[in-house]
Symmetry: none
DNA sequence: AAAAACTCTGCCCTTTTGTTCAGTTTTTTA
DNA sequence: TAAAAAACTGAACAAAAGGGCAGAGTTTTT
């Protein structure tokens, strides 16, 4: 196996930069234009060499059919853009585009493994007792059920609220941790469901 | 401007996932195959709607000519690995290698602009009153001075502690926010300095 | 010195892919 | 309830893009 030549490396770097910045690969002719190679076959030769040497992979008969190995991409592997949910529009799934107010990028290393996660901006001081302050960002792992006492993100009448979950027969109590606030009681048939449980808190001071 | 329909959102999510995982956009026909749309024009209508509503941009007459706004991509651009400081060895600067216990990667978007930042693992419940719990990670912006009442990371005898800063003549008081704890009083000449002030809190539940 | 790989040109062909036109049916909205 | 938008079908077309062939000069290897 021969070494990668300077010319090949130039072309590789161009392709890599192109993909990284534009999010799609160049065509053979676009590469040719960049390097003043008039024949598509000139570029093909270079790409074939790069493929033989393991730097790229060609996808046959596909427009813009060049792919880079995963190692070429900055390890945004476990970086995720979490949607921050604002008001939940009636009848829409939580993660529907129109409910997303903003996004926060963070590293999954501090999150549960599951990908079903979103964030809520905390409003009010009802959960002060648990160290959750007004303006904090609450990270929520989506799940339908919760255990007694867990902190859940509950959707009541289209508004998300963070409370302790206390089910009882025929009703559910949502308790604040700030004694200033009375529990919210949900009777059967009311417009209520659990969006998920608290998985983390982030505060900017 | 009408809302994004469920169908459009499905298609958008497919396109986004496709681009994020494969690093190139799908063709109109690939989208059609996925959703059982037999006419390329059916897909075109959907893409045109998504473009009108600002979710995507179409690149005319280009193979795989769909692009997403930058916000759709998790940017590893401003991801930093913050050092988590443990015990501070005598005579060493805070960020000296031997003081670093671990690192936590996170997005700078929730941090102050400065690059002089580190993290502390909170021990004890002395700052409960400010919603800072045992085990939380405190993000500290390095600076030597603080204003009265600010929460500072103070180094007392080589140990970092998080407290409210209350200077007075000839002494400094470090106050907890949990009334259970008495203030720490630092007289002049004692081994003490301010490492920085609190810039954020992160909690894994 | 010969073989192999590299770096192209030029031309042509095929496949892939985007675009346009002319409709239909259903849902949403003013 | 009429109009607009959504969500398609189907066919034809045009442009974009990949592939192949023949060849040639240059540089590396063996």
């Amino acid at each position: 196996m021969r070494k990668v030549t300077a010319r090949q490396l130039d072309i590789y770097n161009y392709v890599k930069e192109f993909i990284l910045t534009r999010k799609y690969p160049p065509t053979i002719r676009e590469i040719g234009d960049e390097f003043g190679i008039r024949s598509t076959n000139g570029v093909r030769d270079a790409l074939n060499a790069l493929e033989r040497k393991g730097l790229i992979k060609k996808l046959s008969n596909q427009a813009r059919g060049i792919s880079l190995p995963p190692s070429a991409f900055p390890s945004s592997e476990n970086i995720v853009a979490l949607p921050i949910i604002g008001r939940i529009a009636a009848g829409t799934p939580i993660l529907a585009e129109e409910n997303i107010e903003d996004t926060i990028t963070m590293d999954m290393s501090m999150l549960p493994r599951s990908s079903d996660i979103f964030a809520l901006r905390v409003q009010g001081d009802s959960m002060n007792g648990d160290g959750i302050l007004n303006g904090d960002i609450a990270i929520i792992r989506i799940q339908k059920n919760a255990e007694r006492g867990q902190i859940v993100a509950a959707i009541v009448d289209g508004t998300a609220t963070l409370k302790h979950y206390h089910p009882a027969t025929n009703k559910i109590e949502l308790r604040a941790s700030n004694p200033k606030y009375l529990p919210i009681t949900i009777s059967e048939g009311e417009n209520f469901y659990i969006a998920g449980i608290l998985a983390g808190v982030i505060r900017k001071c």
